[in-house]
């Protein structure tokens, strides 16, 4: 009688029904380890009902009040009166733990998962603070009551998702773009770089261009009805009257338009942009929620070029610091800052991941720039062609790790948590 299935042993897998949560700046992915995509992807931006607290207290008990205070998931997209939209993460790390805990609890409830029986794998950026690690473990063990938990570096997870133990991970998220060397599944902290020139920054660049062209960015939820108009004609639409919709909610909805523009229009030129090249850009039509549609040519290239040369695309009234680095420059910086013995490995295994990297032509540009800057090294870029794999790279890596038989010795168990205490676990650098 065999004790374990023969097939999983071949690839070293051993499922223990791990739950994997990857909390990103704009999306949180939740699912079971061993699967290829997260079961649930919810927006990390959640709504907070500010004024309703008082009303709710009157007719319901305290617990329901607390549950309803946060609007997570689809309800965060509803134009509810007085609902402030929160961004629980700043600089890629959790700043508002209440909101994040709510998101986790909401999504685990959606999965019908009994957390007491599932180990919980969480991802963290490599610049995460000790206090944050402690808080994450505290929520996992104290309120979710998981039997075991682990914090995996998202760069390591992304490298694993690409099937690499040694890699240079370029993760272009929404808030942060980071470059992290991974050696044998261990992050190198000192050469790692990160910048704010990522997805949200690109959104702002797009907004700057659209506003300068005088385009009405009324979000979809505010439009009651509209009429079809010819391209270039002024839009004909009527606004819906919604009471007390907060600015933060409107901003979130506007950013959805910008994201759509980013996904469908933006393109990174394969060589650094010059006025001649941008003049030759092919025009594409974009229709805004108001019904207004127009063509974009050079703007498609110039907006995305800002990711590579942030110093050349400053916002009004803002100065770009001298330390500002484009994506390719960061990659080159990191490689040059690494030990000379590992540079070849890193350059040969550049993994590009994150939703922000889905801008058309971004990985080709990085590849070209780095090849040019590091001519002595053989540069090879690995970027998943599948959109889902690119967006959820860190989650998929966590899914791979959580279903590995040899990983199960690394879990921090509840017993360890109770006996040794969180401070010990975090300070002992249990999470390498």
């Amino acid at each position: 009688m065999t004790t374990t299935a023969p097939a999983p042993q071949v690839y070293g897998g051993d499922e223990v029904a791990t739950l994997v949560i990857d909390t990103g700046s704009s999306y949180t992915r939740v699912g079971y380890a061993g699967e290829d995509t997260p079961k649930l992807v919810v927006s990390t931006e959640c709504g907070l009902m500010a004024d309703e607290d008082v009303e709710m207290e009157d007719d319901t008990s305290n617990t329901t009040k607390k549950l309803n205070k946060y609007k997570v998931g689809d309800s965060a997209n509803l134009p509810l009166p007085n609902m402030e939209v929160l961004h629980p993460l700043t600089d890629g790390i959790v700043a508002d733990w209440d909101a994040v805990q709510n998101i986790w609890e909401y999504s685990l409830a959606r999965l019908n998962a009994d957390t007491k029986t599932h180990p919980l794998m969480l991802t963290e950026p490599c610049w995460n603070t000790q206090a944050n690690k402690l808080k994450a473990l505290e929520i996992a063990f104290e309120s979710l009551e998981v039997p075991a938990s682990y914090l995996v570096k998202d760069a390591v997870a992304s490298a694993f998702a690409a099937g690499k133990g040694n890699a240079l991970v370029l993760d272009v998220g929404s808030e942060v773009a980071s470059v992290t060397p991974v050696i044998d599944g261990l992050v190198l902290y000192k050469p790692a770089r990160r910048s704010q020139y990522a997805g949200d920054y690109l959104d702002r660049q797009i907004k700057k261009v659209l506003v300068s062209r005088g385009i009405d960015l009324t979000p979809r939820f505010e439009i009651k009805n509209k009429k079809a108009v010819e391209m270039g004609e002024p839009p004909v639409f009527t606004k819906r009257e919604l009471p007390n919709v907060t600015h933060s909610f409107t901003d979130l909805q506007v950013s959805r338009i910008l994201s759509e523009f980013k996904d469908s229009m933006c393109q990174v030129n394969d060589v650094p942009l010059t006025p001649e090249i941008s003049g030759e850009a092919a025009d594409r039509v974009f229709e805004f929620p108001t019904g207004y549609s127009t063509t974009f040519g050079a703007d498609r290239l110039s907006t995305s070029e800002s990711l590579f040369k942030p110093s050349e695309y400053p916002f009004d009234g803002e100065t770009v610091p001298d330390t500002a680095r484009g994506l390719s420059e960061m990659v080159v910086d990191t490689i040059n800052a690494s030990n000379v013995d590992v540079r070849a490995h890193l350059a040969n295994n550049i993994v590009i991941t994150g939703g922000g990297s889905l801008v058309q032509g971004l990985s080709d540009r990085v590849s070209k720039d780095v090849t040019q800057a590091l001519s002595g090294l053989k540069v090879r870029v690995a970027a998943a062609s599948n959109q889902e794999e690119r967006r959820h790279g860190a989650w998929i890596g966590g899914s791979v790790l959580g279903s590995l038989g040899s990983f199960h010795q690394l879990w921090v168990s509840k017993q360890e948590w109770q006996e040794k205490g969180g401070d010990y676990l975090v300070e002992k650098k249990r999470f390498k």
Partner: protein, 504 residues
Amino acid sequence: MASSSDVRDVLDLPDLEPNDKLTQQPKRQKLAAPVGGKRMDGMQRELFALMGENTPSVSVTKDSHTSLFKDKPQWQAKLTPWMWTPFQNQAREDGLILSHWVRGGELTQGDQYPFAALNTQISFPELTQEDYDGLKLATPGWTLEETRYLMHLCSEFDLRWPVIHDRWEWQTDQDVTMATGETKGAEGTESKVKEEDKDVEMADVKEEKENKDESNKEKSEKKESAPPDGTARTVEDLKERFYNVVSAMSKHPEKYTAEGYNMTTVKFPRDMEIKRKQYLERLLARSPAEIAEEEALILKSRKLELSATKMLQERQELLKLLDAPQPTSSVAQFQTSQGLAHLTSTLNDKSKKGGKPTKEGSVGPQAPDRGGSVEKTTKKEDTKEAKKATKEDKKAATTIAAAISKKLTTKEEAAYGISYHDKLTPGVYLRSSKVTTFKPTIQTKIVAALQDIGIPPKPVMPTAKVCAKFESIQHSMSVLLETKRAADKLETEIRLLRGQKGQL
């Protein structure tokens, strides 16, 4: 009747091996008859002979392994269940119980978790102050605590040096000092480190003053070797320290044993390592143009190498040809007049190449005589003898030369029909056959032209003079014909152009 072995023979297939799976089946059939009953005879035997060892085209067998078809699903059989079973990982110390799917039932207690075997770790013996003193590990720039921190990192990151160097935070890290249980606290050790480092720096400064002549580069290297603070240690610093400690420990294998690491005496070649890294860095810093140039040069050198070896090979072959003695197996070939003529001509050739034929020729025959006398006489006599011999040689040579030069005038030579040749082809030939010929097309034209002026295509009396004259005529005729052809061509061209001009 062709048996299968014949067929195999024709098709060049190897003989069937006795343990070949294919052959097992028919063999069993074949064996079944004789073993089971008596010897076959009559019709049965004939039938069997027809069948021979031939395997049937479709093997009909109940053995599922050799069958071409899938087994029927066994609907009636009991299914093996997969159970959600709790298990314990022996690689863990806390006895965490997780669950996984197991085929066929419960995992019994005490069963080894298959992945626990993969848990390999390196651990080094904890260094105490006693060990530190006993092994004489005290070196400037390093303290016991820092060394312990290093060994701790080495075991934690399994000697992955890039990672160890990345995580090296001695000044700020207090874990290890806390773990040592010393009440001194981290600050005390830190200040100690700093003091020691200062000392080292001071020492360095002194040294630098002493060696003022040394280049700046060396100075900077020295500074590198003694970093000003703990965090700025290079990978080489850490490696050197680690291998020093391990080497010291390895001398007492009974006292210190490392788990998962074979402690041996290793001398870390620090300078070589630094140099290697510098080379590597320079290699990586090449510009695309430099790389292209280098590649082109490499290609060129490869080509040169290839041609050099080829040339060497050809040269060797040539030398072999030259060195090899002529196959002069018998003297018979020189017994005919033709053979002799060939011999003389080749000898003449050689002597001409030599430059001084008379001298060599005269020395040749005397050599054996002299050799004989040399053996008997002393050295002095030998030299005298030699001088004498050379004098005689010179005398003979001059007389011969005089005789030759005196011999005949050109007129006499012509009269006697004597001529000298640079090279003579062996054997007898007709002089007329040696008259040069041109390309067939030109030759026919020349012959036609010669006939026009009444000269036969071959000289009637081919004396040397006639042949020479004939050749010169032939040559001038060819030149003439060539000129005529060119003139004709030009003329037609001129006419054509004139015609065109007239048309215009």
